[in-house]
Each structure stands twice: as C-alpha cells, then as structure tokens.
Symmetry: D2
Subunit: 337 residues, 4 copies
C-alpha cells in the first residue's frame, strides 16, 4: 500500500509499504482522510525529540473498518483516540494517562494514518455519526485539543477572550471558546491570510505588525483586561503578551509548546493573581465529546480546511505549509486518492 | 512621638513626629510590636515603585486601643488588615479587592506602624485573643500571606511539597503547608543559617550550593516530583527550578515578586499540565483566620523570630538584615521601647 | 403616577401613587418594560416571607434616565442590579454579597419597577446597549439567574444536560446551557404548552405525564446519565428525579426554591459522588455579563416572551398566569401604556 | 485455615476453610490484623445489597507476604487497596474507577481478610513502612475514607468544622480535618462513650440528647455557621441538621450512606448556595497517601482502637458492637491468634 513516510530531516516520500496485519484486539482500517498538523511539521523538520525515521505520519484521521471487530461492524467509519500511555507512572496511576510521563502517539511514535490502511486497537476507536462528513471527522482530533484548552480555562458565559496565534490550534480554540459562550474573541497573529480568516469567522483580528495588542484589549474590555488568554502561538513575544493583557484574577491557558524557556513577567502573575494553566492533548472522554462538538460546529470547521491533497500527490505538503503565500491553515490528505 | 521614617534611598531615621489625630471612624493605637519585612527592605533600598519619602514604615503590627471606638474597648489589643482598595476597579467590583488595580497599604502608601502611635480606621481592626502573645500577633500579617498561598495551591493531605527560599515568607509557607497536612516539605536556599533553621523546624533543607534540588526531589518522591511548589525566593534560578521539580498535574504557587521577567520553561507547563498560580497578600477573611492559625502554630512561629529591637534603637535594622553573618530571619521592633 | 401595587394576599391594584423623589446618589427612571416573575406570584399569593403590602412590585425592568446623574446621561436606557446587601454579614465581608444573610431586593423589600417611575441608586445601574431591544433588556435579570446557574454547574463542552421544569427559569437555563456548549438538553415538565415551547426552541421535551424521565435520559446518554441536572421545578418529584438521572461524578444545580424540606436520595449523592450546588440570583459581574449574553441570545429570548400587557391594564396579570389554558411563560408589562 | 465467615443474616462463624491458592499475578498474604467496619455490620445484619453468604469478611487489613512476588519480597508487610472496578463504565473510562457503577470490594464481594491467609493481586498492594505499627496499618483503609472526604470538602486553614456522628468514620474524619488545619471541630453524637472519646481527642463534643447543635455552632462561629459539615451519621436528623449549621457558601461533605431518601431543606441549599458533595471510598493515590497520613497521626489513631480480639475468639464481635454499654469504636481482629 501507499504511505507518506518520513525518511529523515526535511524529507518525506510516498512509499510502497507492507499492508499492516492486525494483532489480536486490533482492526484494520481503510483510511479516508487524514489531517496534517504542526507536530508533523516538527517531525519533518527533524526537531521532534521522539519520532524516528522511517515513520508513516498522521494522527488526525478518519477510516473505515475493513473487517468487523468485536464492537464495530464492517464499513463503520471511525476516528481513533491516538494516545498510548504506559499505565504505571504517577499520572497513569492517578487517572490522568493523557499526561503519562512516557506518552506515545500513533503517527509519531509508531505508524500513523497517512497511508491506505492502518491497524488500530479496537478500544481506541469511536464511531463517526452517520450524518457527519469525513472532512469534519478528520478535525475531531485537533478540535479535542481546543476543547480541553477551553475546559481547562474555566471560561464563563459572555467572557472576553484573547487567542494568541491564528494557526489551526488558535482558530479551533477561538471557535471552541465561542461555542462555550465567549462574548468577544480577539485573535492575534502576524500572518495576513490567517488574520483575514479569523475576521471572516467573526473574531476581532489583531494584526501585530501594526496594531497594539494591549490597546486593543483595553478598548474591547473597558480597560479591564481579558478574562481568558489562550496562548496558541508558541513564540517569545506571545509569552510576553499573555500576562499583560489578562485581567486581575484571569486565566492564561497555555496550549502552545515553546521549544526553549522564554522570559515571562512573573510579577504580573503574582500581582494580578493570574492562573497559568498548561493544556496537553485531551482525555478519552474529551475526545468522545469532540465528536459531538465537531458536528455542532461543522459549518465553521469547514472554513478552517484550506486544501485537500490526494495521498499519492502529498509528498510536497510540507513545502506548501512552509510557503506563506500559500496561506494554508488546515490541509487534509485524501488517503483514497 | 518617635517613629522610624524612611527619608530617601538607603536612609531611615528615628524622628520625632506629630501624634496622629484620628479622623471619624478611626481609633488611635498605641503600638506594641511591629515586624520588618522584605517590602520594607525594598522601600529602604529605594526601588519600591510607590513608597515616597518621608514615610513611617511598618505594616505588620499589633497595637492597643488608646480610646474606645464603636467596636473596640480601650486597652483592647488589635491587629490591622492593612489593605486599602479603590472600590471601583474590576477586582474591587467582583469581590477580590485584595488584587485591586490601585491597591495601597498602610506602611507603604501611608504612615505605618513603626511608631509609638498610629491611627487606623476601626473597620480594619481585628481583636487579638487574650491568650495570644504580642510576638505571635505581630506575625499574623506575614502568616496570612502564607495562609493564602497554601489555600491557593489546593494542597492535599500527605502531599509532598517544595518551598523555594527560606526567608520569612518561605519558612512561614512551609509551616502553613505542614499545618495543612503536607507530609514531606523540602526547603531550598543558599544561606546556611536559614537552612539550619529550616532543618530545626523539621523540614528537609536543600542547600543549593552543594545539593542538586531535582535529585533530592526525585528521592523524596519516588521519582514522581512534588505535588506543590511554593516559589518564595524571587530569583531567576528558582523560576527555572519550579517547573522542573513539579509532578505532572502539579501546582506551582508563586508568592515571590520577581523584579523583571525571567526565563520559564513553558514547555514543562504545557507538557506536564502544571498550574502556575499567583498569590498576593490575603483577603480580609484569610487575615481573620490567620489570627486563629497563628495561635495554633505559636510554638513554631516563635522560632522564626530571630531578634527584637527597641524602636529607639532600630535605625540600623536594615544594616542588620543586609549582613548575612547576622543570620536574621524575622526581626521585630518593640515600639514601646 | 400609576403603579401595580400588591395590597394584600391575592390582591393587586393599579393605584395612583406619589412620584418618587431621588435621594442623593439616586437617579429617576422612566420605566419602559418590566417582567413579572415567579417571586411576584409568591408575593401575590401572600406566601412570601418578607414582602409587605402595600408594595409596588417588579424587579426585572428597563428604564430611561429622566435627569442625568454622575455617570448616566438623560435618556440613557438602563437596567438595574436589584440586590441590596447589608455589608456586614459573613458573605458580605467575604466577597459574596449576593448571598447576604439579610439580602433585600428592589421590588420585593422596597418599591419596584411596575410603575411609571422609579428612583434607583445610580451605582446599581448598567447601560443598555444601543442596539438592544427593550424586550430583551427586560430579560437581563432572569437571564442572569440562568447564567449563574450554568456557571455554578461547571458545564463542559458537548455535555449532556437535563433541565427539570420548563418555566421561565428552566427555559432560560436550558438556553444558557446551550449557549455554554451543552450538546443535548432534555427539558421535563407536565405542562403541554411549555413542553411545546421547549421543543420549538430545540430541546428534547420530556412530558412527565407520559414519558419516563430515567428512560429518556438513559437513551439520550448511552446509559451514562446526564453530566448536569438543573432543578428548576421546585417540587418534590423533581427532587426525587434529580439524583437518579445524574451520572456518577455529575453535578446537580439547584436553582429552584423548595418551600419545605423534601425527600432526597442521599445514597445516590454519596455513591455516585454527586455535587448538589445551590445557586442564588447572581453577582454584579454576572448581571453585567448577562447584558452581553442577552444580546447574543436575543432571537431565542424573544420566543420566551408570550405576552405584553399595558401597565394600566395589568391588574389581572396573576389571573392569567394562574390559568394553564393561557399557556404563558414570560409576561412583560409595558409601563408606558 | 481459620476464617470468620458470614453464613447468613445475623450469623457469622469461625470456620475451617481451604487455604487460598494464588492465581497468576497474586501473592499469598499471612494476615496480621483486620478491622471490623460499619459495612461488615450491614453484611452481618443481612441488609447489604450485594454480599452473599458464605463469605469471609474483612477489607481493612495488614498482612505479610508469604512468598515473594514480582514487586514484594517475602516477609514484607502490606496493605491492600480493596477496590475492584469494571474498567468499561463511564466512571472507569474517565479516570474515576473508585465510583465504578459495578464497584466490588475484597471482603464484600469476594473473600476478605478476616482469615489466616488471603491471596491478593500484587498490584493492589502497598508496602507498610518499617516503623509503622500493625495497628496503625490496619487503620489505613478507613482513614483513606476520611482523607478523601476532607479533600472533597476543600477545607481551608483555620476553618470551622462540624462532624455529625462520632463513629469510626466520624472520628477519623474529625482527626483528618484537624490534620488539614481545621481550627475548631465540633463533633455531635448521641452516645456518651463516643462523645467522651471525641472530647478526649480535643474536639468539642455536642451531645444531641441535651445540647442544641445550632446554638453550639452559632457560639463557636460568632454566628457565621461552620465552613464545612461532614455528615458521618447516616440518620435523618443529621440530614436535617447539616444544611442548618453550614454558613452561606459553605460545604457539606456526605460520607454516610442513608438507607432511604430523607427530608433535606433544599431551600437552605439554594438560599445559602451550599455545596453538598458526596464522597465514596478513595482513589488509589489517596489510599497511598493514607499510609503516610496514618503514620503522622499514629498517636491519635491508637486511641480510636478500643479493643483487639483474637480471630479464633471473634465470632461474637457483632454482639459486642451492638451493645452500647461496651462503648466500642474500632475493633481489630488479630488474625494470628
Ligand atoms: N498542547 C497540545 O497538546 C498541543 C497540541 C497541538 C499543538 N500544540 C501547539 O500549539 C501551538 C499552535 O499550533 P498550530 O498548529 O496552530 O501552530 P502554527 O500553525 O504555527 O500557528 C501559530 C501561529 O502563531 C503566529 N504567530 C507568530 N508570532 C505570533 C505572536 N507574537 N502572537 C500571536 N501569533 C503569532 C504564527 O504566525 P507565522 O506562522 O506567520 O509565524 C502562526 O500563524 C504550537 O506550539 C503547537 O506545538 C499543542
Ligand atoms: N505575594 C505577596 O503578597 C508577597 C508578600 C510578601 C512577600 N512577597 C515576596 O515573597 C518573596 C519572599 O519574601 P521574603 O521576605 O521571605 O524574602 P527573602 O528574605 O529575600 O527570602 C528569599 C530567600 O531565598 C533565598 N534564595 C536565593 N536564591 C535562591 C534560590 N535559587 N532558590 C531558593 N532560595 C533562594 C535567599 O537567600 P539569600 O538571602 O542568601 O539570597 C533568601 O533567603 C519576596 O519576593 C517578596 O517580595 C510576596
Ligand atoms: N435561585 C434563585 O435565585 C431563583 C431566582 C428565580 C426563581 N427561582 C426559583 O426557580 C424556580 C423556577 O422558577 P419559574 O419562575 O420558572 O417557576 P415556574 O413557572 O413555576 O416553573 C416551574 C415549572 O416546573 C413544572 N413542573 C411541575 N412539576 C414538575 C416536575 N415534577 N418536573 C419538572 N417540572 C415540573 C411546572 O409545571 P406546572 O406549572 O404545570 O406545575 C412549571 O412549568 C422556582 O422555584 C423559583 O422560586 C430561583
Ligand atoms: N462513603 C463511603 O465510602 C463510606 C465508607 C465507610 C462508611 N461509610 C458510612 O459512613 C457512616 C458512618 O460510618 P461509621 O462506621 O462511623 O458508623 P457508626 O458507627 O454507625 O457511626 C455513626 C454514629 O452516629 C451517631 N448518631 C446517631 N444519630 C445521630 C445524629 N442525629 N447526629 C449525629 N450522630 C448521630 C451514632 O450513634 P448511635 O450508634 O448511638 O446511634 C453513631 O455513633 C455510615 O453511614 C457508613 O455506611 C461510608
Ligand atoms: Zn504513564
Ligand atoms: Zn480596586
Ligand atoms: Zn450581608
Ligand atoms: Zn466501572
């Protein structure tokens, strides 16, 4: 079968690989669509700490059951909770396996969904509702990241929110925050295409190349500061902004992964009694709810998908992403083509 | 009357000043004891952003009512909740006046308790229980800081804790954490006298000049990391340590006031889903409970007081504090002498 | 001026009363619209513990400033936070004046808004946005009750919810829960008209005269039970249902006011580790946010208003409400007519 | 081997039974001490919904490893987390297996520790520290119940607390609450011996046969009401008291298991915005921490043990418990005698 394989730093290829053979408890899936995500970009660039070539990428996928398992019938469309936990570390022992100290993921630590077929333990699968489009199902995984971030934040009804970064995670988080009742959502970025999309989705775009974020926040909140900040940019300037724009008693939810320590105004955190809360992937239950949520948000989610490529012609996907003029947000790969 | 007056950067004097005249709603207090605190050191050094010379210092005091007010009889000993809030900002409007955006304090923004007399609005006063020593009453204010930090942290029974910094705030926080049921409390510092005191109080001292903090934490927690970190040092290296030693899902309570932004390993916060929570002073209710708590902890609190000076001979108090060989932790000033 | 006056058990009249004279700090409002609520029904029936005849009713109103005050210009439309707190009880001292032990309300403990004019302390007023209809503004107060209930409940995204009671509070709570991201909202009642409205608003109506609530919940939640129950009926059978239909670890938010103690299955609460949380009115900040929320929900809110009566012809409003065949939910009174 | 066997309603016997044969993953334990608990009383009385005769009782035990397993050496003393969860229900799937909808326990749903030997899955075992007395180890299980209750309650430092019921669970909860920093702990009961013990342990006993609980609470809290109520009595009058004595915004932690629905003043819950929170057994992590906590509280725990019986002479233990004049609280059985 064909698969998109990471073969080493800056290099991916479409390769012919052996059809996976389901182990006991696994079912074989015929892949339908699979999203490409920031983590995949990190793997491609060769900087991911764990991923080792050769590796079939892809952890945001929807597939079809090829042969019936114990719970799913043949032909059933499914999405997979892609986390593999060790079961013995402190988080695993205390009901939080999603922050397992040895957490591994399908598509990062073992073969993923950017292929024609994938074999997955059946207990990691969730049924896709009949009336859900495959394109929406492919967004269940990244939306689960946003769902957890919003829940970690404790966002209230009619709260005022700032999302730093209008990449896929930032935009999905802004959408999830609105779904949770946020009144006013500012979205900051430096990329004009992403800001335009943020504006089209109904958010207040803040173009950091020309606008002053603090000023915009002051105006939008009558000088109070925002109730919740979602840091989804992962760059130093965002870490500097996040404490400045939060209101006293406010919350900063940190979804982004900063590659190196960066300066944070700890004085703001103490003086304003801010809560800075990390958010990592999602629990099984949140993944399950992300399916329901995705269906409710389908119309908006559609607009975040900027391109679909056939698997056979996807070897240049990381070049597209790297090219700002392409103005991509979320790219899906059609594994059947 | 005599008072210890801040007269400009690096300079304090004992001065003769006018007896304060109570305004309506105020009562005149004859000062008994008043503690000197890190904030006073900051004012003395000339780096405090608000304090303006000439200023009578002191916000950790116990006094005696000179003339009966509406609620307190003559001779009643009292401690004062020293916070002055604006009443109109967002925190004030939403039940959190202790993080008022224009917060002011007795002894920082207006005349304080390092004097023979002080006039205070009666509704800021709390009665000192009859069986409480004045020395313990003088610690109610800094203990309230520790009480809030411990409550903000959500510390559980038999939790494992690290306190960074064995200054007055660090030691009181360690004591309050133990009072709240912490099982194992590591206290790190670089000052041998403070570490010795930490050890004598029953904590596990970590001497950063020779011990490896991460290693000590791993040993003390079977490799899990501590449940709660209290950052009470206020220096860059502590900000670096705090994320490293917390267990996944753990909490960092930030009491210290970092003068400048400093590097923080945000990746740890996201990956381990840490909660970094600022803690600032205390609410009125926490101040009230600090009185009860102080009495329950009196024996240990006594040991944190390393020296008592007469007010008349207190002009060199900041020199003492600055001299590491003096090995001071908490110094009290006897305002009656 | 004309006013709807409660004159004793089961008796209200349109009376001519003196125009109120603003005290210092108050502004005179020309009333526009005022809602009638369950509490008013209780007062009318003579069972309210505090309300004393003669009393001008009404605490859900929008008015227009007659003469400029310190903050509001003449002609400005406003809604009023109607809570009066004592300032000295434990809740008042600890930042929760909305549960003041001596809580009083405009329209219950002193003259209210079912009149041509009302004088209100200016600091209780909030501006109505220019583009907001008076009818929506009149719903800000009851919506604030629903907003607080939803926030107290900690509702998550795509959570499954049951609302017991399809009265004004139940329907507004169901709407607020959906606004906060609830996926599936069951609404139970015994009144066909109210159930029909619940269905028309997009909820799953459960007609307790024929449907089995537990069964419907099991079906709607794959046997898990609902994540959150809102008890908005205030009758014994609802208190019995609430613990039965919640999932283990779920939350029951109790908004309704049960006149007498009633049997509760405490075994369910312990065994399923349920959280039963009382919710009372709203904080000032929640009232402020309710204005923003009302605007976002305007279309749905419109449908909850089933009738508008002129003040001059409103003396029979409690007869209408008592007549099930009238099928009313929320009745507004036009104070200008 | 000898074992205490429940043979039917109101009947237990010392029987000779077959030595258990460890299945794969299990280790054989030589029982040392085993406590008798309220649940055992329920089983004995024949009212327990699940327990089926013949059954070896006992789930509060300390044993010695007979033959080394994978993690524990021969001779190692251990206590066992006695909960068996299904792994597939909603609570199990969402990290809360301790409220599994099909929860089963060693000693209730399968043979327990009131015997000379017991075979237990090794992964349910925790090491007993070398310096811990067997008598204290035997209290780890009921203390874990108290630990969870205290943590569920969110008790603050110097909080004022009432514990309803001075049985084993009530007294352990009062002790755990004090260990968590409670300032003032009232303990109510109707049994003079238990009240005397509560007083001797340093709590304020409230003898409901003659004292008025509300009055005592008012006095002890300056009229505020208690911050936290622990309902550990499980009788109707306690359910009536619990809402009355809690302060506005206070918490009621419900540990007791009420056999039937009983009247609760729901109006108090709504009006005072109380949180009524169920607490059931404990998580694995809380059980682990209970070992540390037991050691810190050893001196007080000793006093709760009122009697130790040899296993061979324990057939009348339920008669002793039923006889108020015996004034027992916690009875241990010496399984080696
Ligand atoms: N916690 C988790 O479980 C989890 C899961 C998935 C992803 N993540 C992390 O979440 C973050 C966002 O992911 P993503 O896929 O959306 O990444 P992304 O596509 O790189 O999006 C980040 C966006 O932020 C913009 N940006 C740059 N500087 C900024 C600034 N100062 N303020 C605001 N925005 C700025 C970037 O613009 P340019 O592209 O023009 O620089 C980019 O559009 C990443 O750090 C990723 O590793 C975390
Ligand atoms: N949030 C609030 O409301 C509030 C209230 C009061 C105080 N504070 C803040 O709390 C902090 C502590 O106050 P304090 O009065 O206890 O101050 P302090 O006396 O300066 O204590 C800090 C201690 O930390 C030690 N230290 C230095 N480097 C360290 C490191 N890498 N790790 C651990 N410890 C280290 C210091 O040793 P050396 O002295 O030898 O350098 C000193 O003993 C200050 O930042 C203060 O501003 C906050
Ligand atoms: N906490 C607060 O601050 C606050 C503020 C406002 C109101 N409230 C309370 O909230 C509650 C609801 O107010 P409301 O104005 O919406 O009252 P409402 O109009 O009386 O609504 C209650 C609804 O519940 C229905 N009902 C009767 N039995 C039921 C059952 N077994 N299960 C489900 N529904 C049942 C009633 O039907 P029928 O009419 O046919 O009997 C009615 O439609 C009241 O108790 C009120 O006092 C509380
Ligand atoms: N949630 C859980 O996981 C869990 C675990 C273990 C136990 N439990 C439950 O916790 C409860 C307490 O257990 P236990 O072993 O301590 O039971 P217990 O020995 O029966 O203790 C209850 C005590 O309450 C006294 N009491 C009676 N009426 C009272 C009243 N109105 N107010 C205050 N106290 C009153 C009883 O006195 P008399 O004996 O004189 O009547 C008795 O001393 C039980 O309901 C048990 O089922 C729950
Ligand atoms: Zn793990
Ligand atoms: Zn303020
Ligand atoms: Zn009050
Ligand atoms: Zn289960």
């Amino acid at each position: 079968m064909k698969a998109l394989v990471y073969t080493g730093p800056k290099s991916v290829e479409i390769r012919d690989t052996a059809l996976p053979r389901p182990k006991p408890g696994e079912v074989l899936l015929k892949m339908q669509l699979c999203g490409v995500c920031g983590t995949d970009i990190g793997i491609h660039s060769g900087t991911h700490p764990r991923a080792a070539a050769p590796l079939i990428l892809g952890h945001e996928f929807v597939g079809e059951v090829v042969e019936a398992g114990a719970r799913f019938a043949r032909g059933q469309r499914v999405v997979a909770y892609p986390l593999l936990s060790c079961g013995v570390c402190h988080p695993c022992r205390t009901g939080s396996p999603h922050v397992c100290t040895g957490l591994r993921l399908i598509g990062i630590d073992q073969a993923g969904g950017l292929a024609e077929y994938l074999s997955v333990p059946e207990d990691m699968l969730f049924a896709v509702p009949e009336d859900m489009d495959n394109r929406i199902a492919a967004l269940v995984e990244p939306l689960a990241v946003a769902l957890r971030a919003v829940e970690q934040s404790g966002l209230g009804l009619a709260d005022r929110v700032a999302v730093l970064g209008a990449g896929p995670i930032g935009l999905l988080t802004a959408l999830a925050a609105r779904q949770a009742g946020a009144a006013e959502v500012l979205v900051s970025d430096i990329d004009p295409a992403r800001l335009a999309l943020a504006g089209a989705l109904g958010f207040r775009p803040v173009d950091l190349r020309q606008d002053d974020l603090s000023e915009q926040v002051q105006t939008a909140t009558d000088g109070d500061g925002v109730d919740v900040v979602f840091e989804c940019a992962g760059v130093g300037p965002a870490a500097r902004d996040m404490t400045r724009i939060a209101r006293p008693g406010g919350t900063i939810c940190l979804t982004s992964l900063h590659k190196a320590p960066c300066p944070v105004a700890l004085l703001d955190i103490a003086f304003k009694e801010l809560r800075l809360i990390g958010s990592r992937v999602y629990t099984r239950e949140q993944f399950r709810r992300s399916i329901t949520l995705a269906q409710a948000m389908a119309e908006d989610l559609e607009r975040v998908i900027t391109r679909t490529l056939p698997l056979s012609g996807s070897a240049h996907v990381f070049d597209l992403i790297a090219a700002p003029e392409e103005a991509d947000v979320k790219i899906l790969i059609d594994c059947t083509a």
